[in-house]
Assembly symmetry: C2
Homo-oligomer: 339 residues x 2
């Protein structure tokens, strides 16, 4: 079997905003399989905001992405060769194959490679609604926000892979779900397709005052839970509208990835409103994933959990698609089609 | 019985920093007791930072202090007349009598007036280590920070009524306890008398950089729990030294009481370090008070929980003592001796 691999490596670390020059596309060999290894041909690569954090060298929750090595990333694909008894050619699998066409995984490491069932759930959904983003929504909502029926839950980046699941899960729990998204198209989609009760276009409400008015209209009973994907002025506005004993799950802060920390305007609201703010990384809650993915998969199969994908075509398109994701140009889960 | 009462009312709301002109001392009658009422002669009035928040008219967790009415405040004293069967003249009681010499309490309202035992615990301690400040320390430490033996707990305003209890309770749990206080005298007291492992003089470490160095020295294993009494640059510095999964209990933010919100420099650390930040008001956790006060009272009686008091003499001295408290001029629990 003579296979040709291509991969994208991190060529340099961004000084501030990343540019296409930070990556390099290169040819690479497909190694011989050792005992227990599995060769996977990738169908889709997932692009996610966390990758921006990995590009920096500073202290963060994860190791920095090493220079000149293949960019990390979640992938779905099919097994093309296997030296592990539990995997056979043709199996659909999800793993962390990285920004490349093929990857080799040691299938004896628990959780590294997972077989998935594509009869009722499309393969690509295992990178989105039934994958890491879906699990992120599920863990943050159920284990930090813990909403009760009748409460109001707000989520930023509401049309994205995580945000769209947060709102639909909140609705399924009997909550009022309010999204924040960039642009009228995304807001319409969030309300009309996903079934949120309201969605605020932050581009049409550019400052704190306008956001506060919009939040007051969209959340007449105040805000009990906030799923934070963005940071900055949106966080400041939401905090001013939080009810007593509100909970904020910190999942992402895209606004702060480029180096300059963005302050929180009024932390004394934490005391005044007895808020709980908690950051979490979904990969540190692996024990919750089976329950989360089973529930999310069931909802997708039954059409109760909808999602949208932005698909870039071919590995070479990944860097530009990723830069677009950081600027909110994607609409739904950002994928790269590799086969 | 002809008794003469004096009281201090809020005459005006402070524009920024409060001044003596915001209060007025006036004579007042002692009313006849109605059925179930008890007349208490106050021995001590408690002065606490939360009173500053009540002086404002804005949205906060509590009703604003009404103008021209007696300032609220905790008091200990003795019953001088009673029309309730459970209270008799001579009983030592703790309640919310306000800034005045006498108060009338409806003893049929549960919790409004509480008899206390002064055989092993001095009466004044029921306003401090075995009162609201002690309970505040106990609730924040045990129910938000939840420290494990071997962890490092930092507390600001460490020589104060709340902070001194936080550190001693943390030590009793096998933690490293590190205080932050203003001035060499307070720091020496915190370490030598209260038994903290270290104490940082924030006046000798005036900027973020100096505070970070001092925290690194005092907390070589990082910080797992922080009991926040102050806000501002101290919070920013502590957040930069928090370990993954650290917990911050927000109990007070003296720095922000005068109107201008003080931002938090780097909220993305909440995500990066998966921190939990939670505000609380001890009066909303009344179900925990019996256990807290029993434990605190036992520790005081056995000399395991030490405290210090700053006692101003006479009702007329209360406003100036309160302004001093806001500036950190007190050393230990601030009281006013009324009888």
């Amino acid at each position: 079997m003579s296979l040709h691999n291509q991969r994208i490596v991190l060529a340099s670390r961004p000084a501030a905003e990343p540019t296409l020059e930070n990556w390099r596309l290169e040819d690479a060999p497909v190694p011989e399989l050792a005992e227990a290894q599995v060769l996977v041909k990738h169908h889709y690569l997932s692009l996610d905001p966390y990758m921006r954090g990995r590009m920096n060298d500073g202290k963060s929750y994860a190791q920095p992405q090493p220079l000149n090595e293949v960019m990390i990333g979640g992938t779905v694909g099919e097994v093309v060769a296997s030296r592990h008894p539990k995997f056979a050619p043709g199996d659909s699998v999800v793993g962390m194959g990285g920004w490349q066409l093929y990857s080799v995984a040691d299938a004896s490491v628990p959780g590294l490679l997972r077989k998935v069932d594509t009869r009722h759930v499309p393969l690509s959904a295992y990178l989105g609604a039934v994958g890491m983003p879906g699990a992120t929504a599920w863990v943050g909502l159920n284990h930090i926000i813990e909403p009760k029926a009748g409460e109001t839950v707000v989520v930023s980046a509401a049309s994205g892979a995580v945000g769209s699941a947060v709102g639909q899960l909140a609705k399924a729990k009997g909550c009022r779900a309010v999204g924040i998204a960039g642009g009228a198209d995304k807001c319409r989609y969030v309300v009309e397709e996903l079934g949120f009760d309201a969605c605020i276009d932050y581009k049409a409400h550019g400052d704190l005052k306008a956001l506060l008015r919009a939040l007051k209209d969209a959340c007449p009973q105040g805000i009990d839970g906030y799923f934070e994907n963005v940071g900055g002025v949106i966080l400041d506005a939401v905090m001013l509208r939080m009810n007593a004993f509100g909970r904020i799950a910190f999942c992402g802060m895209i606004a702060g990835y480029n180096g300059e920390p963005i302050p929180m305007a009024n932390p004394s609201l934490i005391l005044v409103n007895r808020l709980k703010l908690q950051g979490f990384i979904v990969s540190e809650h692996m024990s919750l994933w089976p329950q989360a993915l089973a529930e999310l998969g069931g909802m997708v199969a039954q059409g109760q959990l909808k999602y949208r994908e932005s698909v870039a075509d071919g590995l070479a398109a990944a860097p530009e698609a990723f830069l677009g994701l950081l600027k909110g140009r994607n609409f739904g889960k950002q994928l790269v089609k590799l086969a």
